[in-house]
């Protein structure tokens, strides 16, 4: 039984959420707009916002020429990557998506209207955030990332954080979600070295698309990543949180979002149970 005692399942995760996170903080981070504003007020770098659409009137007033060539729209209260649309360049009167498909202005409008009607966040209404599409740091592009990889930094109370890099792949359709085929890399939070790679249920050494060796590579700016995530956790008042951080091509470290109910896959990727008291020594052994 002791083998399993430190592994956290969904039931215990929900109990930990209730123990460590007060409802005010949960409500705050469930709203990506409010979270970004609060973090920015406290000097924590966040992904810039191009526009916020609060209702259909805002959508009607939105002009295509005011948008950047490459941009991302997401629901303010979405979860699990639902409702995110990524457009990578202009194409005639519309844009191209990550798969190279033409997306007309009308289709974009329909999608944003769906976001506003709460269809992607399980609510009766929501808001849409439009952000510029960021390019990843060159070191991350070299790892074979398609799209923007992000770092998930998971904090449980005062324990050392767990850090995982999520690489989008062809199979995941450019999304970083692991359950959709993305690759999860366990990162040593002190040195930034990739210590383990997992794709689906299998431990791997090389990138499934490019064949490039992943284990042993280094992630840049890991110290700033961990510091930024810790600051975000402190500001939002959460005791148990998963902070998504990105490093762009100018090596800017920015918070993408904060999750009050983070997923548990990080345990598999890092090969470390969430409540392990020996996490520090576990990293030291590698």
């Amino acid at each position: 039984m002791t083998r399993w005692a430190s592994v956290v399942g969904m039931n215990r995760r929900n109990a930990i959420v209730h123990q460590h996170n007060d409802s005010r903080s949960i409500h705050l981070v469930n709203d990506k707009i409010a979270t970004k504003e609060l973090l920015a007020e406290h000097g924590v770098a966040v992904v810039p916002t191009v526009a916020v659409l609060r209702d259909r009137l805002d959508l009607r007033q939105l002009r295509a020429c005011e948008l950047p060539d490459e941009w991302v729209a997401k629901p303010a209260r979405g979860a699990g990557g639902c409702g995110i649309i990524v457009l990578v360049g202009r194409d005639g009167d519309g844009w191209l998506d990550t798969g190279g498909r033409h997306v007309s202005r009308r289709e974009v409008g329909e999608h944003l209207a769906e976001v506003l009607s709460g269809q992607h966040s399980g609510r009766s209404a929501d808001e849409a955030i439009i952000e510029p599409r960021l390019s990843p740091a060159p070191e991350l592009t070299e790892l074979g990332a398609i799209g923007l990889p992000d770092l998930r930094v998971l904090h449980v109370g005062e324990q050392d954080p767990l850090v995982m890099l999520r690489l989008p792949t062809e199979r995941s359709g450019g999304r970083a979600n692991l359950h959709q085929g993305g690759v999860g890399l366990a990162i040593d939070p002190r040195r930034g070295r990739v210590v383990r790679a997992v794709c689906g249920r299998h431990e791997i050494l090389d990138h499934p698309d490019t064949g490039r060796r992943l284990v042993g590579e280094r992630v840049p700016e890991i110290g700033r990543v961990v510091e930024t995530a810790a600051a975000a956790v402190a500001i939002t008042g959460l005791g148990f949180a998963g902070v998504d951080v990105v490093i762009d091509d100018r090596r800017r470290v920015m918070v993408l979002e904060v999750n009050a109910r983070p997923g548990l896959q990080i345990q598999q990727v890092c090969d470390t149970p969430l409540l392990s008291g020996r996490r520090r020594s576990s990293w030291a052994r590698r």
Binding site: W4, A5, V7, N11, R12, E110, H120, Q268, D271, P273
Partner: protein, 261 residues
């Protein structure tokens, strides 16, 4: 209660219950009086609750089918236990419980036909309705109207029993369709198929448990007691914080548990 005041030898006994001061004048009730009056009320209330909970009907009465409201808590308990202890995921938390209730209290074949018909209608109709730019709520509304219309016609022509046309499978079917659309959008077809499988498993388990002879009998004779027992089981399952059975497999490979030892 004394209404006639006579100086009799019963004075000493009856004075305790006499609301007058012995001279025909009313005195304010003392604490002891209020407590004496309140106790029977409390006992009456407790007795009423016990009567409701332990209400028993004649098991030989002509009502052979248990009322849906009596069966539903048991089906919910099964769904909760499967979700929290086994880790079975379904299209909506309580959708399988509603369908199982409809199966047990109505015609099983008709219920499943309606349910599968609604799912098929949802899957086939969504693409067509998307072309007219209807939001999800609108698409669902159209499907509910279409489903209810078809069932009303079938019910009028006596092709379906009244119990099945009551709407439970329609409501449950639409809840499942909405969740199916969400899952298809967010996680794709594979995950949706998994959820459909989980839903079918939960419906089957809940239907088997709720149609057990003892549960059937209790649902008819003591529905209140059955609800309390179900609530207790739900409470017990809800407070379970250990790993779900499917998580034992999930965390087994790659070996997360190995690092904890």
């Amino acid at each position: 209660m004394i209404t006639i005041h006579e100086p009799t030898d019963r004075f000493g006994v009856d004075q305790l219950h006499d609301p007058t001061d012995g001279h025909g004048l009313h005195r304010p009730p003392s604490f002891a009086d209020r407590r004496a009056a309140a106790t029977p009320l409390f006992i009456t209330a407790a007795a009423s609750v016990a009567t409701v909970l332990l209400h028993t009907a004649d098991p030989t009465s002509p009502v052979a089918t248990p009322p849906p409201l009596a069966v539903l808590p048991v089906a919910v308990a099964v769904a909760v236990a499967l979700g929290l202890i086994v880790g079975v995921r379904s299209l909506g938390t309580f959708t399988p419980a509603l369908v199982a209730t409809a199966v047990v209290t109505g015609d099983a074949v008709e219920t499943m036909t309606i349910m599968l018909g609604m799912l098929a209608l949802g899957l086939l109709g969504e693409r067509a309705l998307r072309t007219v730019m209807l939001p999800r709520l609108g698409r669902l509304g159209v499907l509910v109207a279409a489903g209810c219309g078809a069932l009303s016609v079938a019910g009028t022509e006596d092709h379906l029993s009244t119990a099945s046309v009551a709407g439970l499978p329609v409501v449950a079917g639409m809840m499942a369709v909405e969740r199916l659309w969400q899952t298809l959008d967010a996680d794709g077809a594979t995950e949706s198929v998994r959820l459909v499988g989980g839903t079918a498993t939960t419906i089957a388990a809940a239907a088997v448990v709720t149609s057990a002879p003892r549960v059937h009998e209790l649902a008819i004779t003591s529905p209140g007691l059955l609800a309390v027992v179900s609530a207790g089981l739900i409470l017990a399952a809800g407070s379970y914080q250990g790993l779900r059975l499917v998580e034992l497999v999930r965390f087994c490979r790659p070996s997360v548990a190995g690092a904890a030892s």
